[in-house]
C-alpha cells in the first residue's frame, strides 16, 4: 500500500457514486430527458435552496423543526434512559414495569397519530409527543440490555475492592452499559427525524415539513426536493453527532481506538 495516494483514494471512493449520479442527473435535465415538474436539475435545486436561505425562510423552518426534534428526543430519550437504568438495576422495578413496557413497545408510534390528534389537537405538543414516544423505546431497550450485560466478573471484583452503591454504579455499571446505551441513542436519532417528518406533514404552519407540503400545493418541485435533502442532511448530522459521542466516550474500547 503506497500511503498518501491510496489514503486519498479510499477517502474519495465513497463519494464516487453520488457525484456520478449528480452529474448524470444534471446532464439529463439539460438535455431535456427529465421534465422540470418531475425532477428539477441539481442546479435548480441549489438555486432554490440559496433563495430560501437568503430570504431567511429556510432558517426559520430549520430552527422550528430542529427544536421539535430535539425537544422530543430529550423528553423521550431521557425517560427511556431513566426507566432503562431503573429496570436494569432493580429486579423489583423490572418485574413491575417491564411487561407493560414490552406490550406498549409493540404498538407502532405512527398508529397512535389519530389518538394523539384527539388528545393534543394538531399543535406543537402533538408533534413533540409523537417524537418522544418513538425515541423512548430504542433508548429504553438498549439501556436495559446494557445494564444487564455488564460483566458480572467485573462487578464481583469491584465489590471485593470495596465499591458499592453509587461508586459501583459510576465506575463499573454505567461505563459497562455505555456502549449499548449509545447504540440506542443512534437508533433513536434516526427514528426521531422519521417521526418528525410524519408529524410535520400532517399539519403545521412552520417547519421543513410545512415548507415542502406548501411547495407541493404550488407545484414547486425544486423546494420539495430542498426539503427532502434537508431531512437527509439533518439525519446524517445526527448520526455524525452520535458517532462523535461514541468516539469520545468509548475511547477505551479497542473498536474505537485509532489503528486498532
Amino acid at each position: 500500500m503506497s500511503k498518501p495516494s491510496s489514503a486519498i483514494a479510499s477517502r474519495a471512493l465513497p463519494w464516487l457514486v453520488p457525484i456520478t449520479l449528480l452529474v448524470v442527473w444534471q446532464l439529463a435535465a439539460n438535455l431535456g430527458w427529465l421534465s422540470v415538474r418531475v425532477l428539477p436539475a441539481p442546479y435548480n435545486i441549489a438555486k432554490a435552496a440559496w433563495t430560501l436561505a437568503a430570504s431567511g425562510e429556510l432558517w426559520t423552518h430549520l430552527v422550528v423543526s430542529s427544536r421539535r426534534a430535539l425537544t422530543g428526543f430529550a423528553i423521550g430519550g431521557g425517560a427511556g434512559l431513566l426507566l432503562g437504568l431503573a429496570t436494569g438495576s432493580f429486579r423489583k422495578i423490572e418485574t413491575l414495569l417491564d411487561t407493560t413496557l414490552q406490550m406498549l413497545r409493540n404498538i407502532p408510534p405512527l398508529a397512535l397519530i389519530p389518538l394523539i390528534i384527539l388528545w393534543f389537537g394538531i399543535d406543537e405538543t402533538a408533534k413533540v409527543f409523537l417524537v418522544s414516544i418513538g425515541v423512548f423505546f430504542p433508548v429504553y431497550l438498549n439501556t436495559f440490555h446494557g445494564i444487564r450485560s455488564v460483566d458480572p466478573a467485573l462487578i464481583e471484583m469491584a465489590k471485593s475492592y470495596g465499591l458499592s452503591g453509587w461508586s459501583l454504579y459510576r465506575d463499573v455499571i454505567l461505563p459497562g452499559a455505555l456502549a449499548n446505551i449509545l447504540v440506542g441513542v443512534r437508533f433513536a436519532l434516526g427514528f426521531m427525524w422519521v417521526l418528525l417528518i410524519v408529524a410535520e406533514t400532517i399539519s403545521a404552519t412552520e417547519g421543513i415539513g410545512y415548507m415542502t407540503m406548501n411547495a407541493r400545493e404550488f407545484l414547486l418541485t425544486d423546494i420539495v426536493l430542498v426539503g427532502i435533502l434537508l431531512y437527509a442532511l439533518l439525519g446524517k448530522l445526527a448520526d455524525v453527532a452520535a458517532r462523535a459521542l461514541e468516539r469520545a466516550w468509548l475511547r477505551w474500547h479497542p473498536n474505537y481506538q485509532p489503528g486498532a
Partner: protein
Amino acid sequence: MNNHPNETAAVAASTPSNGTALHIADVVKRYGEREVLKQISLDIAPGEFVAIVGRSGCGKSTLLRLIAALESFQSGVLHYDGEASDSRHDTRIMFQDSRLLPWKRVLDNVALGLPRDAKDNAQRVLGEVGLADRGREWPTRLSGGQRQRVALARALVHKPRLLLLDEPLGALDALTRIEMHTLIERLWREHGFTALLVTHDVGEAIALADRVVLIDEGRITLDLRIDLPRPRARGSAAFAALEERVLAEVLKQHGGAPASNPQEPGEEPGDHSLWRTVDQVRWAV
C-alpha cells in the same frame, strides 16, 4: 491453630502486623446436594505463603472464594485474626483473568476504590510492579502478563494483610510466569502479607510457597512444608524430588499411574520412567 503452633508463633513474632492469621475449621460447602468442601480444616500463620494445589474441580478455588467472602458456606469456622469476619477489609483477591476495568486507564484501575488523593500511592505501587511508565495506557493495550501485574498492583495498593491468588498466572506463557513468580515472591517478602495461592501447577506451588496443601475431592490430603532456601532453583534435586512427591500423591488418588513410593525431599530423583510420567502429568493436573 492445631497444626503448627510453634511455627505460627515464630512467624508471628518476626512480622507482627503485616499478615492475617487464618483459622479454618471443619468448613463444609455445598452446592445443592453436591458437597464441594468436606470439613476442611487449615491454619495459616501470619505472613505465611501457602499454595493450594489439586485437580480442576477439586474445590480449591471454592475454598479461596469462601475466604474472600465471595461465597458463603454451610457450616464450620473461618476466622481472620481470631475474628469471624474480615472486619478491616484487608483481604484482596487476584483472579485468573485480570478483571481490569477496560474504560479506566491503568493508573485509575490501580487506584480503584482509593480516595481521590491517593493517585501518588497508586503510581508508586505501579512502579513496584515495573509499569511506572504505563499509567496512561488503556488496559486493552497491555499484554496478558502486564495486565496481571496491574491487577497485582491494584491489590497491593490497599496494603492487604491477606492476598488471595486464584490461579492468576494460569493464562500466561511459561517465561512470563517465571517473571511473575519472582515478582510475587519479592513483593510478598517486602510487604509481609499472608499469601494464599491456588494453582494447578505443582512446580509453581513449590517455587513460591512455604507450605503446599493438596486438596482432592473436597478434602485436604497432603500438607507439605517446603523448606528449600529462597530464591528457589527449579533445577535443584531437592526441588524436583518435592515436585515428584506431590505429583505422586495426586496420581495415587486417581490411579493414573502406579503409586511408586513417593521419595523424600532431598533424595535424588531416581526412576527415569517415573520422571517422564511426572513431566507429562504436570500439565494435565
